[in-house]
C-alpha cells in the first residue's frame, strides 16, 4: 500500500514555507527557485540547486520545525509526507536524496564541530601558557 502524500506548490518571493516551532512533518524537495532557512531572523542556510531536500528532520523524527523556511525567489517545491518505508519502496530516488542530504549536512556539521573544538583547545593551550 502506498501511504505517501505528495503535492507540488509554487511560492512567491517572501512566502513562508514552514514556521519555526510549528508541528508540521512535511519533507520538501526544491524543484526550482531559491529557499532560505532562518533562525532568529538570521539566515543560516540557503539553496537554489534543484533536487535539494530540506525539512527532513521534522519529517523523520516528528520534531517541531527548528527554523523558518522562506522562499527567497519564486520557488516550486514538492512536499511529501507519509511512511518512510513507503517512500523507500515507491520513491527510491527521494530516499536516495534524503540519504545524501543527511550525509552532506552531517559532514558539514561535524567539520564545524571540529573547528569549534580546535579553537577551544587552542584557547585552552594559550590560557595555560600565560
Amino acid at each position: 500500500m502506498n501511504s505517501v502524500y505528495v503535492s507540488k506548490k509554487t511560492y512567491k518571493k517572501g512566502d513562508i514555507i514552514a514556521i519555526e516551532g510549528e508541528n508540521t512533518t512535511d519533507c520538501y524537495v526544491l524543484l526550482s527557485g531559491w529557499v532560505g532557512i532562518f533562525k532568529n531572523k538570521i539566515k543560516v542556510d540557503d539553496f537554489n540547486i534543484p533536487g535539494t531536500v530540506f525539512g527532513e528532520i521534522s519529517f523523520l523524527l516528528d520534531k517541531r520545525r527548528t527554523a523558518h523556511i522562506i522562499a527567497l525567489a519564486e520557488s516550486e517545491v514538492m512536499s511529501f509526507r507519509g511512511d518512510v518505508e513507503d517512500i523507500i519502496r515507491n520513491y527510491p530516488n527521494i530516499a536516495k536524496k534524503i540519504l545524501v542530504s543527511l550525509a552532506d549536512k552531517l559532514r558539514k556539521t561535524t567539520e564545524n564541530f571540529v573547528l569549534v573544538i580546535d579553537e577551544d583547545i587552542q584557547q585552552a593551550l594559550e590560557g595555560s601558557e600565560q
Partner: protein, 127 residues
C-alpha cells in the same frame, strides 16, 4: 536485528574482528565500504581528535564516503579487543533496494545530525 541489516544480494559483506587500536578505515582513504557494528566499540577520530564513539550493536557507520563520494573524513579505530564488524561493499542503489538497511541508515544519520547540531549550538554558546 543485525541479520536484518545485512543485505544478502548484490552486496558483498564480510565479518571481521579487530583488536583495540586496529584501524578499520583511515582518514583520507578512497575506500567506500560501510560498516555495521556487531560487538565491541569503535572510536571515530578526525586527525588526533576523537569526535565520536560507536557502541550501539547494529549501528551503521563509515557511510559518508559512499553517499557523498570523496575521501574518508574520519579514521575508524577499534576501541576494544574483539570488536566485530560487518564490512559491506555496496552502492547507493543497492542500499535503497534494501528497505531495512536504508531505513536504519536514514534514521541513524538524522539522529546523528540532530545530536551534532545540538552539541555545536551548545559549544557556540559557551564560546
Amino acid at each position: 536485528m543485525i541479520s536484518n541489516s545485512v543485505p544478502s544480494d548484490a552486496t558483498r559483506s564480510l565479518k571481521k574482528t579487530f583488536n583495540r587500536g586496529a584501524i578499520i578505515a583511515r582518514e583520507g582513504d578512497e575506500s567506500k565500504e560501510i560498516f555495521i557494528l556487531i560487538s565491541g566499540r569503535i572510536a571515530v577520530y578526525k586527525k588526533l581528535l576523537k569526535v565520536a564513539e560507536i557502541v550501539e550493536q547494529g549501528a551503521v557507520f563509515g557511510e559518508i564516503s559512499l553517499l557523498l563520494g570523496g575521501k574518508r573524513n574520519n579514521s575508524l579505530i577499534a576501541a576494544e579487543d574483539n570488536t566485530e564488524v560487518f564490512i559491506l561493499n555496496t552502492t547507493l542503489d543497492n542500499i535503497v533496494k534494501d528497505q531495512q538497511l536504508c531505513k536504519k541508515l536514514i534514521y541513524d544519520l538524522a539522529n546523528r545530525l540532530v545530536r551534532t547540531t545540538e552539541t555545536l549550538a551548545m559549544l557556540d554558546m559557551e564560546l
